[in-house]
Symmetry: C2
Subunit: 230 residues, 2 copies
DNA sequence: AAGTGGTCTAGACCACAAA
DNA sequence: TTGTGGTCTAGACCACTTG
């Protein structure tokens, strides 16, 4: 076998062997040196190909343990987290924004838990609406760490907190969750939908190495659909 | 600057420069050769670091055009697509499964569109329920390409189509979408929830290079939450 | 202790897109 | 045309983890 030249060709060939069962689930595949010899290429090239497959969840690699085909593959998909304005403009729709409220307040327990601070019982609470073609698109309900985004220094009357944060605050990590919820009276009023309507919601916590920066719940108007690549 | 040794250290340093604005949005950053000289390392090491950042959406790279900091970063997040049994067992809950129906039928237009075949107006339609701790967890409503998964050859009475497919069928790509929907009478009955309840649903189309393999809608019982890494 | 993947190097050539 | 990233090589050393 001398065909594959690039790491992508080797990736493709490896994929084929996984799919055809030539490399069966749970079994160890030849090590990098062997494959490099087989494909007449440098070990680094094989490494690049197998690492790529491992990142997609199609192989499991361990030092000394070798490379294996997972018995129950857990494939990974990626989705893009754009700012809401981009999301709307990407659909060739007109973006609109309106700040509803911005004040210091005591957060509910579930939010406070995300901030891990029993001290600062007062957070900056920002509520805003994003519009697409003049119609409510997404309700932004955000709690900010007031030590990082100070009242008075930064205003969200024109530029949404969503956009300001993406452009100005570095973050090192966090978590994101998706779920469905029924519109309560408040959300129904703001999103101009029926009370009880099924809404898609995203909750996101963003941290830097030191502290939690913000927790946000984005509730989308009925019909919203989030797409990702497989 | 001689500190960073590994590509991860260079990545971290690059991140710092992006965050501090030393590398400002829209501006070109030094090319790989310059950075390699600055960090006293091989260009390949710089390449590894910058490529990693580009994959996360924190840099944009183009041949000849150089590397830039995006003005509006589109960060990427990944989530894992496990089989439903794993999802439930991962929560330390007992998994259960029941096949509801499995027959050839004419799909609705929206499903047929995913198969791009105006010919085969008959697809294999499989309906099943997944349970966690004995309670309905997820409703699987699946349409299969009967030329790939033949009636009679493969049965889903014990092993779910979800699991069988992951283990047996290679796929090259597809798309996945998330949304919220209100439980209709049928779904409410099967998931044992109120009609009209807000449910989280995933729709997934899976293809191989030649044809569409399957289209599935997974509707989760109320309270389901999908998490991803940021 | 030893095997395997992880990473780094120094150099080279190539592919693409901007000038 | 030319500059920049993309990739490959051959060799080396290291880190982890398993036996």
């Amino acid at each position: 076998m001398k065909r594959p030249a690039s790491w992508q060709a080797i990736r493709t060939e490896a994929l084929r062997r996984i799919h055809t069962g030539l490399w069966s689930p749970g079994a160890r595949i030849p090590d990098e040196a062997e494959l490099a010899a087989e494909f007449s290429c440098a070990r680094a090239t094989v490494n690049r190909a197998l690492r790529s497959l491992a990142e997609d969840g199609l192989l499991e690699r361990r030092r000394k343990g070798g490379t294996r085909v997972p018995t129950t593959p857990v494939r990974k998909a990626t989705f893009e987290i754009a700012i809401i304005r981009q999301d709307i403009e990407g659909r060739s729709q007109e973006y609109g924004y309106r700040l509803i409220d911005d004040r210091l307040a005591a957060p509910p327990a579930e939010v406070l838990a995300e901030f891990e601070t029993s001290r600062d019982v007062v957070l900056r609470h920002v509520t805003a609406l994003h519009f697409a073609e003049g119609r409510p698109f997404c309700l932004e309900d955000r709690w900010l760490n007031p030590q990082i985004v100070k009242m008075g220094e930064v205003e969200f009357g024109t530029l949404s907190a969503n956009e300001w944060l993406v452009r100005n605050i570095a973050y090192s990590g966090g978590k994101i969750g998706f779920h469905a919820l029924a519109a309560d009276r408040d959300a129904a009023g703001k999103l101009e939908c029926a009370e009880g309507a099924a809404l898609f919601a995203i909750e996101r916590t963003t941290r830097n190495p030191t502290a939690t920066i913000t927790f946000v719940r984005l509730t989308y108007a009925p019909g919203y659909r989030m797409e990702a690549k497989l």
